[in-house]
Symmetry: D3
Subunit: 169 residues, 6 copies
Amino acid sequence: MRALYIGRFQPYHLGHHSVIEEIALEADEIIICIGSAQRSHELENPFTAGERYLMISKSLRDKGIANFYIVPILDVNWNAVWVSHVESLIPPVDVAYTNNPLIERLFEERGYDVRVPLMFNRKEYSGSEIRRRMLNGESWEGLVPKAVAEVINEIAGLRRMKALSMSDL
Amino acid sequence: MRALYIGRFQPYHLGHHSVIEEIALEADEIIICIGSAQRSHELENPFTAGERYLMISKSLRDKGIANFYIVPILDVNWNAVWVSHVESLIPPVDVAYTNNPLIERLFEERGYDVRVPLMFNRKEYSGSEIRRRMLNGESWEGLVPKAVAEVINEIAGLRRMKALSMSDL
Amino acid sequence: MRALYIGRFQPYHLGHHSVIEEIALEADEIIICIGSAQRSHELENPFTAGERYLMISKSLRDKGIANFYIVPILDVNWNAVWVSHVESLIPPVDVAYTNNPLIERLFEERGYDVRVPLMFNRKEYSGSEIRRRMLNGESWEGLVPKAVAEVINEIAGLRRMKALSMSDL
Amino acid sequence: MRALYIGRFQPYHLGHHSVIEEIALEADEIIICIGSAQRSHELENPFTAGERYLMISKSLRDKGIANFYIVPILDVNWNAVWVSHVESLIPPVDVAYTNNPLIERLFEERGYDVRVPLMFNRKEYSGSEIRRRMLNGESWEGLVPKAVAEVINEIAGLRRMKALSMSDL
Amino acid sequence: MRALYIGRFQPYHLGHHSVIEEIALEADEIIICIGSAQRSHELENPFTAGERYLMISKSLRDKGIANFYIVPILDVNWNAVWVSHVESLIPPVDVAYTNNPLIERLFEERGYDVRVPLMFNRKEYSGSEIRRRMLNGESWEGLVPKAVAEVINEIAGLRRMKALSMSDL
Amino acid sequence: MRALYIGRFQPYHLGHHSVIEEIALEADEIIICIGSAQRSHELENPFTAGERYLMISKSLRDKGIANFYIVPILDVNWNAVWVSHVESLIPPVDVAYTNNPLIERLFEERGYDVRVPLMFNRKEYSGSEIRRRMLNGESWEGLVPKAVAEVINEIAGLRRMKALSMSDL
């Protein structure tokens, strides 16, 4: 059984991580799609697809998980065509996992078996909460896999986010 | 005389319908352009261009109107080029009708005869009011032609809109 | 039953015309897609989508055929996504007609009932043969519906083609 | 030494003008990039790239400044690729000037020497303040070079902005 | 050490396979980029990116190779921006391998260490030779990894290619 | 009087140069559009828009010509929209000069006064002839302004062209 999991991963955090760990137990292979791959250097989307790729692959290797593939997916801004766009870039899948209601709906209308993974503690394990903490100088490292904190340090991610947040006055 | 009428038709409602009926009396042919054709599956733009096409064509056929053409127009996100983009896809027209001030301006700057049709009861005969009612479970069928309500039922339009409105918590 | 017929129509000729007449007898509605809609002013693609729209609609009205819709389709240069792109712009269809082997294959892989219409006298009723005659000053008007010859005259189509064919020496 | 200065110039005002005058003294050549070149006819972006081109070139010629080049730059909506996009369209530069923190960051990450010019009186010499005054019928001509006011008059810029601001009720 | 290997893989064959095996011995990780990812259903590019993904991943897993990542790369048709486009989608690499002289040049101009892998028996281990044999009904299975032949059979690849090659007479 | 001159300038040569010198005498200002601005690193289009910008501006400055502007123009692959695209990026012009029959036709259909400059000795003063000589190691420097030969040397243009011409065997 081949499973699909789609997210933006800005950044990849322990909420995503535990979902993927669970899917990895059931599925023979997981295709992890990095959505909005062309977005970066924005307060809502600070990291490039390449940086997110590294966060995910390192974190999963650290856990000994190897049955995964990562595929960056560019926005097409054309919802009715989007599933077809994803299908052309990945091997066929048996089930799609997502927490995004739009993606859920789009795959359902194409006849897919879509499942919404349970994410525990969504207030903390949330991209926007982690980005908020990064900007405010609060502690955030505990909410992401160790490898993610390392990647963000290496690329000076906090400096980038602070630069982006500065008004030009 | 060939007339152009441009709208987004999310969904096509009785306000649009009565305007087109009136233009159809004066003009030999009406070109109806479906704007933002690539947008769908959003709360503001729930329906695909194909679904909107069906709403318009069925409603007009029901009224016995036959002197119309429907042309889906993709956004180009380049206002200064937009009129030229429309011109390349449709037969030449003598007059352009629109209720959108930007479109009005763009056609005027290109030297067109632009007319703003009078729309009665715009509080109710309005796409956003109809979408609001759909989401809140209020009655909306009376604001659209019968064929439109049928199309929306066939494609399970309300279910789609409710799915899109759900937060992912 | 709703049928789809796809072509480039550079220009619309009697071969297309007789196929559509036949489909119009069987089908309740025909959706005629103008492919490569953004191409024009090239030797292989001299006419804009708007000009082709006019050729088709006038020719069919002249025959008393009214159960058709015309939809311009831009190239996406992404074959695996193309059918989905068409689907998002048109009402659902029961059968697809085409003489283009690539389009035939793409619709078949999506599970469509695809039919290849018999075109008689393809040596003469062929876009490239008609364009060749236009450029060489040979007689071509007999190969297209009367309305098409009129449209090409109105837009000074022959002058355009000759201009395009001139080398810049 | 060749310098780069990037802005949107909606419209070009005395704040920009005094910065460029200063750079023109130090640099052998200034490349002035007009950002978001494809945007126009919006309340935040009323003027086309061509109109902005004219504002800048006339104002600088009036001051006797001649060592400048103007390059319109389209948005690519892909921040990680944007600097490379600019680089492909302009001659190589030694230093980049900008007041936009995102652009500052993107050029810094590519290893550029980036400088943030001091802009005096930013409350008044500001695109949004000037656009606000235009819409409200307040005096704005004193905040832009004389040539800019002339260009805006010639193209009936105020009429355009008022048209865009009208609600369609 | 992280290595990059770029190809179109239409289809993935034993020439590619032996090169990757060799790189896999030296490098800690290989990023395999599938170029022209949006092309498929053409005689020169019969397979989708998803199908090519499957060919590569299965063949490498069969060999026990696991230290690889596969990234589909869309054409941007803008050579001067292409390396930047690739960089935004992949983790940073130390060395780039390619047999395409254009790609070699583009990476070299960006300062990369580029290596041209030795490919033995290029007359037979060549995408165009394999596609030629497929179309002519000659034997080709010996030129690709076993998994590739299986994928092509599953998706009825030969039938697709023959359909594409048929003239529409 | 403001004049427009459009070319690809691969590379800028003495044929272009003498035409522009002549236009510069008659016109108050010349807008020089660099067509196919996004193309580079191809045998037919070896140089980036930025490199071509430098060739033109240096050559004209060397001649003491200052009343010119250079605007890079990306291909839109949509002929019917192309003039409108150019118009949005440049100040209004009174006359358009071009040696390309397609561009001539497109501007004429929009109502422009188009003139075809006489180019003397077109066999030698021709982009394709100069590129042919570069590849074959023949003498070409005499066919371009001195500044152009300098730019091509600085960017190692010959090395780039030879790399592009190498087959990958």
